[in-house]
Amino acid sequence: MKATYWRFNLLVGLNCFIVFFLLVEHLIKVPSGIQVIGRMHPMLLHFPIVLLVLTGLFVNFPKRFQESVSISVLIRELLFVSALTSALTVIMGLLLAREGGYDGREFQWHKWIGVAISFVSWGLLWIQANQHKLHRYFFVGATNLCLVLVLIAGHFGASLTHGADFVLSPLRSGDAKAFDLEHAKVFEDAVLPIFKAKCLSCHNPSKPKGDLVLSDSASILKGGENGPLLLGGGTTESLLIQRLSLDISHEHHMPPEGKPQLTAEELALLEAWVANGAQFGLPVATLRADDTLMLAIQAIYQVEEEEHFDFPSADEASIKKLASPYRVIRSVANGSPALAVSFYGTSFYNQQSLSDLKPIVQQIVTLNLSGMPIDKKDLEMLKSFSNLRKVNLNNTPLDDEGIALLNAVPTLKSVSLSGTGVTVEGAKSLLANEAIQKLYVWNTAINTEEVGQLAASYPTKYIEGGFVSDETSLLPLTTPQVTPARTFFRDNLEISLSHAIPGVEIRYSLDGSEPDSITGTLFDNPIVIDRAQKLRMKAYKKGWLPSGIVEREYVKSPNLPDRMELQSRPHYLFPARMELSLMDLESGGDNHADGRWQGYLQSSFATALYFDKPTTIDTLMLSVLQNYAGVTYMPVYPPEHIEIWGGKDSVNTRLLAKVAPDLMKHEHLTRRRLIHCPVKASNVQYLKLVAKPYQNIPAGYPGSGAPAWLFVDEIILK
């Protein structure tokens, strides 16, 4: 009873575990130790099969065992089945081996031990049947010997199917060699892994299909039954590349259809390797960065600057303690012990900022001190950064004296010194360090020729001098800024001119003349404008071409009606501020959608102006937008005609003026235009303005035939 309980418990536990496993399968990460157990599955699976078959035997033929339920009978039956299946297995195995491709020590052991098992199990059955004649220990010993043989044969069999080391490989992958640019060899670290992954399962010393073995350089050079693989050195003569490049359906294509195929990148790498002379000892580090082989290697392996760091990881707690928004500490890659430290915020940098890093100094490989107010002590501190590869010292107060301290960091590969006080002497002493590969010296005392000389003396190193302003070609200045932006005013307007570049002179004129550098008035105090005037201005500075000319036409709008009534409905997209925007003195910009322009399409703009007292109006001006072909489906034209009606009131009116503005040539179009309408009305109390957009744009103009948009902004009365 006790035994049953124990068995029951075991089964419940195991089955619960299966259920649990199935439920949270997606969360489970199998550690390598457990992986080994998993890989024994193909081995264990044979046991239930055999045992279940046996159970089936007992269940199906109970009569045969009923009277003689003795262990010896059971064992005899089992031995019989075992011996029978062993023998069959050996026969099948021998047949399989005849197909070819199996050879080598492992296969031989597997074969002969398998045969031995067959014979031993047969022998055991015989011993069991004749046990009375022999000592019992002899039988037990022989049985155990047989079990050992099964284990050994099983092991070699598994090695043949899955490759040697299959079971234990997960334990080893942890210390697999990372691709290390400095020490890697092209063949060993880039080519051979491809053979291992895609070819070696059939072309290994134990299973040399086609007499070809790809596991080592000597065998590769020897080639297979069809001859050497690497003739000549060209890719077309190479049997290796030929076979790999054949169409997959071709009989001789390798790897055969159904097996894992080479990727395009892998094939490209093998081609590049063969084209490069298929050298076996070539180190990756001797290849140029733009070499086809190097690029092919990089396409598969992450080699660039990827270094394998074997120092221990820093203590997480101390990293946490040291990290802040102003001193950011990050590992350079997921799972790497190497750290990158960046400083931000000059006002938070102090004497301790760098020296605090002592506990993790060994792990820091890149350091960004860009713009920080570092001093000599900080640089001395760098000596203790025993694994520092890359340092950014741009825009720090560093000079040649500091460089001498940098020289004490022998591991440095890349140094950024842009915007520092370094001179060519400092750069030379730094470049003398063998490890230095990249140096950035833009915006320093080192001039272009000196950068060229340095590059010539160190042809393998990358020296960046950066942008050099070409003093012979002058750039034009930007145009001055005018504030305020509006050009309409009631009484007067105070105008300021400014320029983003310091030291720029702005000269202007108010009489329409060219504001040149001699006659133009130099801007210093705000300009006050109190009548219609044209302001023209230009910016000047030594070493620059003058800016383009900026023109502003200021328009005085002295008269306001007492009331205004917008009688038309603008397009729903462009209502602006309805009647308010018509006399608010704000000017619309070049963009029709800036909220200041009121838009009309296929309907006229109409507004009425009311005056409490009889008023005399000489001229009425309407500001409109013009943009014939800006957006094709939105041609913006001035109105086809403007009608101005006036009189004592809205009933007694007459047509005062009708103006049909001429169309400017497309090439000479200005975006904004003020249309003058001579009204010459005296003593009116009511004015009505109607502007009709083109229903059909005239021929010869962009968008001809289509209706035009009309955009109006400001009405000015004089």
Partner: protein, 492 residues
């Protein structure tokens, strides 16, 4: 080590997952606490705060140092014409005015703006092209500064997209979907990689406007979508206050602001205890970041310490806030200060008409500053780790839209093929990738879809686009949704 990689923000995201994980865990308890305990040995950090979110993120980050750490995306909004910039098609000039062969057009979708046109007259570039650099890349006369740096660029002439109009196309480029409800690329990167400098937003947005006809740019393009709101883009304005509402109100000093934040933090912590809503923590983090930004933003936006010749490099407009050149200079400064993703938009590339004139103005706006940005990063030793991208949401047709003459014509939207360039950050320099047919209409070789473009960018930043996912509305989402392949041919 993994935990250390994560910023506190990412931990919070993971925490939300932890709750869900515990629920799942508890629901499985019924099958036996003993077996669960046994099984849990196989789940790393089940009880110590290892979370599904973090695990998912960790899976997306491979165990090697990424080539690119930061991105600057110079988006040319409106759709730059590839035929006047990087895709040289002399045949179009030869066949000027002749109809686009129907076999080339292939009955593909056109916009409503030209589908009604009676004819589709081919129109060649008004501007001449020449070859530059060792890569002998063709560049038009409109981009003389870009032409000087072609050996640092990887020009892709075979981009294509699914969308044909501005809004869906730009949304597609930014978020990987044409409808605007997904996180923007910068938000994904902020989610996947966290912030490098926690004193600045991981995702910054700068907008400028050219003189050409422009299309709208709206905040949905830099949205965090369903990701935590700490990942959304922050717009920097041109003007005295680059970040709106960042400064303390009148009468508030730094000390009282600090006190206020501390007290507010306590209240929020109490709320969090009750509701467990991650948005509360996100809000507190944003307050804290804004507090730090009060110091860092004035520092980073200050251009007064730039050397004089930086102006000659970027062009004099770089000192005029709000211009493209000023934004490029600011982008460099933000990126140099650890901002993960700087998104620029330059509006005004929608040349349906008056293309030669408008494009000259647009190119003048962006050419010098774009090239200067690449050079500036290079001379500071930052180009290796910064990925710069330049391009619009689609290209423009090889046939004329509307009025046509040699020096005045227009081009409609063309999603089938267009050109973009990339530089730095693990992209092969001096490469011209992909080809279009001789009409510049269809792609002849190595097409690069928007999803491929996204997959490649994520790859360069060390993220697997298939594994960087976020669970939302019952399924996992990716930037590339269910498509995209890394364009191996352009990787250095």
């Amino acid at each position: 080590m993994e935990a250390k990689n994560k910023s506190s923000m990412e931990k919070e995201i993971g925490n939300a997952k932890l709750f869900q994980n515990r629920r799942q865990f508890l629901s499985t308890l019924s099958v036996g606490i003993g077996s669960a305990a046994l099984g849990s040995l196989l789940i790393p950090k089940l009880f110590t705060g290892g979370q599904q979110g973090q695990e998912a993120l960790a899976k997306a980050i491979p165990h090697f140092a990424p080539k690119a750490k930061r991105v600057i995306y110079l988006f040319q909004s409106g759709g730059v014409s590839q035929l006047e910039s990087f895709d040289y098609k002399p045949k179009l000039r030869e066949m000027m005015g002749q109809d686009l062969p129907a076999s080339i057009q292939g009955g593909q979708r056109l916009t409503g703006m030209t589908s009604g046109q009676a004819s589709f007259p081919l129109v060649g570039s008004y501007y001449d092209f020449a070859q530059y650099g060792q890569s002998r890349a063709w560049v038009s006369d409109l981009f003389p500064h870009t032409a000087k740096i072609v050996d640092d660029l990887c020009i892709i002439r075979s981009m294509h997209t699914d969308a044909i109009n501005h809004d869906p196309a730009i949304t597609f480029f930014q978020t990987g979907a044409q409808q605007g409800n997904r996180p923007s690329m910068g938000a994904w990167l902020s989610y996947g990689l966290g912030s490098e400098n926690e004193n600045l937003p991981a995702f910054c947005v700068l907008i400028s406007k050219g003189k050409g006809d422009s299309q709208g740019i709206y905040s949905k393009l830099w949205t965090n979508g369903f990701l935590d709101s700490v990942h959304q883009g922050v717009q920097f304005m041109g003007g005295p206050n680059p970040v709106l509402y960042l400064n303390n109100p009148e009468g508030t000093d730094k000390v009282s602001r600090r006190n206020l934040l501390d007290k507010l933090g306590e209240l929020n912590a109490m709320q969090f205890e009750v509701f467990g809503d991650q948005e509360i923590t996100a809000k507190v983090q944003q307050y804290e970041m804004a507090y730090r930004m009060q110091t860092s933003v004035p520092e980073v936006t200050d251009v007064s310490k730039e050397p004089d010749h930086i102006v000659k490099m970027y062009g004099p407009e770089c000192l005029v806030p709000g211009t493209y050149a000023a934004n490029c200079l600011l982008a460099r400064k933000l990126s140099e200060n650890g901002v993960r993703f700087v998104q620029l938009y330059h509006q005004g590339w929608d040349q349906h008409g008056a293309l030669p004139g408008q494009m000259a103005l647009q190119a003048k706006d962006v050419d010098q500053a774009s090239a200067a940005l690449v050079t500036d990063l290079k001379q500071r030793g930052l180009l290796d780790e910064t990925l710069v991208m330049w391009g619009g949401e689609f290209g423009r047709t090889n046939y004329c839209q509307g009025h046509m003459s040699f020096d005045n014509y227009g081009r409609d939207h063309h999603p089938r093929s267009f050109s973009v360039w990339m530089a730095g950050g693990g992209v092969k320099p001096g490469l011209v990738y992909g080809e279009t047919d001789e009409f510049g209409y269809n792609i002849a070789k190595d097409p690069v879809h928007v999803h491929d473009f996204h997959a490649t960018i994520l790859h360069l930043l060390g993220l697997d686009h298939e594994k960087l996912t976020y669970q939302h509305l019952g399924r996992r989402y990716r930037l590339t949704d269910v498509a995209g392949n890394v364009v191996k041919g352009i990787l250095a």
